[in-house]
Structure formats: structure tokens, C-alpha cells
Symmetry: C2
Subunit: 143 residues, 2 copies
């Protein structure tokens, strides 16, 4: 890992870690879609290419936003799960959804709502709900 950071700015540093076209969509699939495997990430509507998906998963694991493991009952599938560091991105994702709903919809007529995920209710309640939901998924997955 040679100097990945452009500066000491917290915002620039975050972009240097997850400011690419795909990382946040993988995290979205995990946290809002409950996705856990390479196959599942591959089938998202944005159609990420396998080479890019592979490199992003390695990178996200490298910076400890996700973990990679196999479950004892299945040696074929790799299971990717968010770490706490990754789960703490929920407030950021929430703000993106809110801003997008208000300011991007006019540009993208195909845009769907995320009201089914509980957005547009009380903000901090929504965030905590999504986070505890995901933590429950992790617990269930690891048994």
C-alpha cells in the first residue's frame, strides 16, 4: 500500500479509499440488499465487470471495510460481510439517498424510491434500524 492519500483532508482521504465508481454500490448491495457473495454482487442492475468486482472486494478487504470467509458447510462460496467500520457508512449512505431523492430525480426519470427501506421516516431511527438489521444478518450468517 504505497501512498494512497492525496492530502491530509478527511474528505479527500475518504474519496481516496471509497471514492471510485463501484465501492459504495457494493456496500449498498450488502447493507440494503443483504448480498454476501460474488455472484450476488455480479447480478446487480449496474452490471459490474468481474475483474473490477474482484479488485474492489480485495481492496475493501484490505482497508478492513469488509471481511471474506468461507462457511464450513460450503467451501465453494466466499461470504463477504461488512465490518463495523463499513456498517458505520450507513449515515453517509442515508444522506446520499435523501439528497438524491430531492435533487437527482428530476434528471433521472427511471429513479426509484427507497421508501421501502424506511427512508423518509425519522432519520436517526432509520439509520439505527438499517444498522441493527445488518448486524442481525451477520449474526445469523455466522451462526
Amino acid at each position: 500500500m504505497k501512498n494512497i492519500f492525496r492530502s491530509g483532508c478527511p474528505i479527500a482521504s475518504t474519496l481516496d479509499l471509497i471514492g471510485d465508481k463501484w465501492s459504495l454500490l457494493i456496500i449498498r448491495d450488502m447493507i440494503l440488499g443483504g448480498k454476501k457473495t460474488f455472484k450476488e454482487f455480479s447480478t446487480s442492475p449496474e452490471k459490474i465487470a468481474p475483474g473490477i468486482l474482484s479488485s474492489r472486494l480485495k481492496w475493501l478487504e484490505c482497508i478492513a471495510l469488509i471481511t471474506k470467509r468461507k462457511l464450513p458447510e460450503n467451501q465453494k462460496e466466499n461470504i463477504y460481510l461488512l465490518t463495523e467500520k463499513g456498517i458505520e457508512l450507513v449515515p453517509l449512505i442515508t444522506e446520499i439517498v435523501l439528497w438524491s431523492d430531492k435533487n437527482v430525480r428530476a434528471l433521472n426519470s427511471e429513479m426509484y424510491s427507497m421508501s421501502d427501506k424506511g427512508f423518509h421516516a425519522d432519520k436517526s431511527a432509520v439509520i439505527e434500524h438499517i444498522q441493527s438489521n445488518y448486524r442481525e444478518l451477520v449474526r445469523k450468517t455466522l451462526g
Copy 2:
């Protein structure tokens, strides 16, 4: 403007608009640094290349996050200002700063604090303060 959106997802759509390496840093310079001109953006520590800066400014203007104008007393400088749509990115930027402070600092030893900008006080108060501050700058600039 041919199909810029990969999908109907609000998160993907936001990334399709401002999910590159530089747009959010230009917006950061405007909102937290009070920067308004091409020259000022050029002198940020991350050293954006003029060609990229030029194309990003055009793009941000195209999607109505910023405006470009000349002031009557100076026909040389172009003045770039955030629109309301752009000012509404402050909550998102705030969450990035908070996440970064907590989760990126360990990876980037050069990272500086933004406590001088009022972060780490009450969140919604900070956001409103930054926003009204910027609106005041706009007012002062346009006279």
C-alpha cells in the same frame, strides 16, 4: 447529455453525477474554503490538473450544482458559486468528515482535524451554520 445513469438507484445516480475523484473536493473548497475562482481551486493541496478542473466545473454547471458568472468590476475572473442544490450537499459532506475522523485517521497519519469548521458540535447546528455562512458569502459576492 446521453444516458449518464447506470440504473434507477438513487445512490448509483448520485455517484454518476458527482462520484468522481474531484467534484466533491471542488465543492469542499467552495463551501469550507470560500473559494470562487479557477485559480483558487487550482491551488488546493491535492493539485487538480487544469484540464480536469475545467471539465469538472463545466459539468457541475451543466447539472446545476454551481453557477458561473463574471462580476461587473472584474472581467478577467470567473466567479463560481454553489446553487441551493449544491449547498444541500453539506449534510453529506458532514457525514463524510465524521466517518473519516473516526475510521480513516488510523490509515492516514497526515490527516488534519476539521474542528475549526465547527464539526463535532451538534450535527444539525453545524450543518445549518455552514450553509447560512455560505449563503452569506453568496450574498456578499453578488452585492
